[in-house]
Symmetry: none
Subunit: 77 residues, 2 copies
DNA sequence: TGGGATTTGTTCGTATGTATC
DNA sequence: TGATACATACGAACAAATCCC
């Protein structure tokens, strides 16, 4: 599911949807770390700003927890 | 002094006036930092674009100095 | 003790598109 | 047409926490 820059759906919401799906499917298991912001930037060819907006959405949904200096983790069931 | 979106005075000029007054009154002392663009956006419920236009006015008036990655500071007397 | 690498947190700089008046 | 205002997106710099050697 490559990200489309010409979509009506903002890039950051596309990424949030991708990560949300990986969490729902178990590809990203509870307590496991998400790829770092740097990794997500590279993998999707997008900016840090956009990556952080996506993660912020998931954080507000209670799906992930972020720890400064460490990373972002999938919330426990 | 809440900002009025239905005023004849543009929002960015209203914010510039507010900040100018805080500098003049000493509420914002020389060398002290202004609230970040992010803070000003939240506090006044306006966009970053508009916040930056307001700060640009003060910068042109020599009232503030902006440093990338750090913030905007009240100019020294 | 110290230093370097990695990671998230925060800030300003710039550009583009959309909508409204 | 131009000015205003918002949202999106990418860059860049600085700061702080963590980790490992």
């Amino acid at each position: 599911m490559p990200i489309k820059h010409d979509s009506a759906v903002p890039v950051y919401r596309q990424l949030a949807a991708i990560l949300r799906e990986e969490i729902a499917s178990g590809t990203l298991a509870p307590d496991s770390p998400l790829p770092s912001e740097s990794r997500l930037m590279q993998e999707h060819g997008i900016s840090r700003d956009t990556v952080r907006k996506a993660i912020e959405i998931l954080r507000e949904e209670g799906l992930v927890v972020t720890v400064k200096g460490k990373g972002t983790y999938v919330a426990e069931g």
